[in-house]
């Protein structure tokens, strides 16, 4: 059974335009569906404004979706009462892009990682302390630094702190929203390796949201490409990278820098007129869908 099934998820933002004008509707997410199997690393790629982060937030109901269904382990989380949703979040966590703005600068590292346990009223003070130490070790942080403040850590260490916090409640499913984009490449590699190790150790399922296709190709089993609020192509990573069908995916892939100075990339310019933006996803093969 899939861990997560998203059906026809829609999130529209209404932007008021003053008294005399009709309000603007921004279709941030415009009817997307996908499923994530247990133990999978599912990639969601697209550029700024494509709706990928909004999708992540809607799944956790950090934003309330307009319509659609989000089935987590067979239950629609959009029907949950606030209390039930709070319980469900023990199993679904998120790691954000910017560890500076997502970690309270006035809380010590130990308190940041402990906070989810406190909120959910789990364990005694001592057992929580032990759990925090355990989590520090798990994500490769030095337990001697428990009492430090976020600014005393480097960027990579801060992201480890964010991951430790996400893991505190033993979740089954983690959304990594551009979790490594703000980091140096060598630090990126370390954090990615950590995420993969944790996946094996703890049997985690990930939704990996990113704009860097090179990362996604490396680590995800399947990928969905978002463009203007819709999924335009989805499939097994190797299939999608080697035999992409949608013009947008092709343009995106052609923008990836080549590491060989003698065979530079040939950028394909996207002509937005060249394809039908409303085309539904069509099955190309068993492991490949495209909106063409």
């Amino acid at each position: 059974m899939p861990v997560l099934e998203v059906h026809n998820l829609v999130k529209h933002f209404i932007r008021p335009q003053g008294f005399w004008k009709k309000a603007d509707v921004i279709r941030a997410v415009d009817g997307i569906s996908f499923t994530i199997e247990e133990g999978e690393m599912f990639g969601l790629v697209g550029e700024s404004g494509s709706g990928k982060s909004t999708t992540g937030r809607c799944i956790l109901r950090l934003l309330e979706p307009t319509t659609g269904k989000v089935m987590f382990k067979g239950e629609n989380v959009l029907d949950f009462s606030p209390e039930r949703m709070r319980q469900a979040r023990r199993e679904m966590q998120i790691v954000f892009q910017d560890p500076v703005s997502s970690l309270n600068p006035r809380m010590r590292a130990s308190a940041i990682v402990e906070e989810p346990l406190v909120i959910h009223n789990l364990g005694s003070r001592d057992s929580r302390y032990n759990r925090v130490q355990e989590l520090f070790q798990l994500v490769g942080l030095n337990p001697d630094h428990l009492l430090r403040y976020p600014h005393q850590f480097s960027g990579g260490q801060r992201q480890r702190l964010g991951i430790a916090r996400a893991l505190a409640l033993n979740p089954a499913f983690i959304i990594a929203d551009e979790a490594v984009s703000a980091l140096d490449m060598s630090i990126q590699a370390q954090i990615i390796n950590l995420l993969i190790d944790l996946q094996r150790q703890l049997n985690l399922t990930y939704l990996f949201i990113a704009h860097d296709l090179r990362l996604v190709e490396h680590i995800c089993t399947r990928v969905a490409v978002m463009y203007l609020g819709r999924i335009v192509e989805m499939g097994k990573t190797n299939v999608l990278f080697q035999a992409s069908r949608h013009p947008y995916t092709q343009a995106l892939l052609s923008a990836v820098p080549s590491l060989d100075p003698d065979s530079p990339r040939k950028r394909i310019n996207l002509d937005p007129m060249s394809f039908n933006k409303d085309a539904p996803l069509r099955k190309i093969s068993d492991s490949h869908w495209a909106a063409i």
Binding site: D184, M185, S186, A189, R214, P257, S258, L259
Partner: protein
């Protein structure tokens, strides 16, 4: 052979915050021939940006050049008077940053900001400056240049803002452009567009480029030569092909291995 446009020799930059003394740049030497691009790679804190600020003598407070020379066009920039240095900055050597939204003035139309760059260095009439602004915006491939010149930075997309930055940098026809992580904050397709633009401008204006980045993908696309910095020192330098194909230093290798998909080569 022509003398290189820029020759940095034994540059050392020290920050003194008593009682601590930090050597940010340690005995760094490199040169950039005319029309060529040197990629300076390294992680945050390796001293690559400080090297650039040192060349322009724009070091943050507490920092100073203790030894070394920066030969540009035959002059040693480290010995120039401050007023002479003013003539170099922006006119002969320009700088573009990672975050155009921070570098641009939010309360000023972008056209004004470009013409400001022109009028600081040269006496030009308003009409001439205006015509030149439109010309520059067209050179960096901004459509409807006349209308866009009246926009404020927040009305432009990230890629467009970076183009405006490039237009400002090129306003006085510099011979050296220092680009500090120019595409790091941008989406992949926009990054590709900006890199293509830089490559085109480099050829048109015979620009030398000092490209600072942590992304070897950008280096492979743009650079002729590469210098790898680690903890203030250059640990390896050479032609881009040599560095990418036969890196000698363990640190260079580890940086290359960190690029997702490095195994494709």
């Amino acid at each position: 052979m022509d003398k290189p446009l820029l020759e940095v020799e034994h540059l050392t930059i020290v920050f003194e915050h008593a009682p601590k003394k930090i050597i940010a740049v340690n005995d760094v030497s490199f040169s950039i021939p005319r029309g060529k691009t040197l990629g300076l790679v390294g992680e945050s804190g390796s001293g690559k940006s400080m090297t650039a600020f040192g060349i322009l003598r724009l070091l943050p407070s507490g920092g100073r050049i203790t030894t070394g020379t920066v030969r540009f066009n035959g002059y040693d920039l480290t010995t120039l008077a401050e007023s002479e240095m003013q003539e170099v900055r922006g006119a002969k050597i320009s700088l573009i940053f990672q975050e155009p939204i921070i570098a641009l003035n939010p309360t000023m139309q972008v056209g004004k900001q470009i013409s400001e760059a022109l009028t600081v260095h040269h006496k030009v009439s308003r009409t001439v400056a205006q015509a030149r602004v439109v010309e520059l915006l067209e050179a960096v491939r901004i459509p409807n240049a006349i209308d866009r010149a009246k926009d404020y930075p927040h009305q432009l997309s990230g890629g467009m803002r970076q183009r405006v930055m490039i237009a400002i940098a090129l306003a006085c026809r510099p011979s050296l452009l220092i680009a500090d992580e120019p595409t790091t904050a941008l989406d992949m397709t926009i990054q590709a567009e900006v890199l293509d633009l830089l490559r085109e401008l480099r050829a048109t204006y015979n620009l030398s480029l000092l490209l600072i980045t942590h992304d070897f993908g950008v280096i492979a696309e743009m650079a002729d030569y590469v210098a790898v910095m680690y903890q203030g020192q250059i640990v390896e330098q050479g032609s881009v092909r040599k560095i990418l194909r036969q890196p000698l230093h363990a640190y260079t290798r580890s940086l290359l291995e960190a690029v997702p998909g490095h195994s494709w080569i």
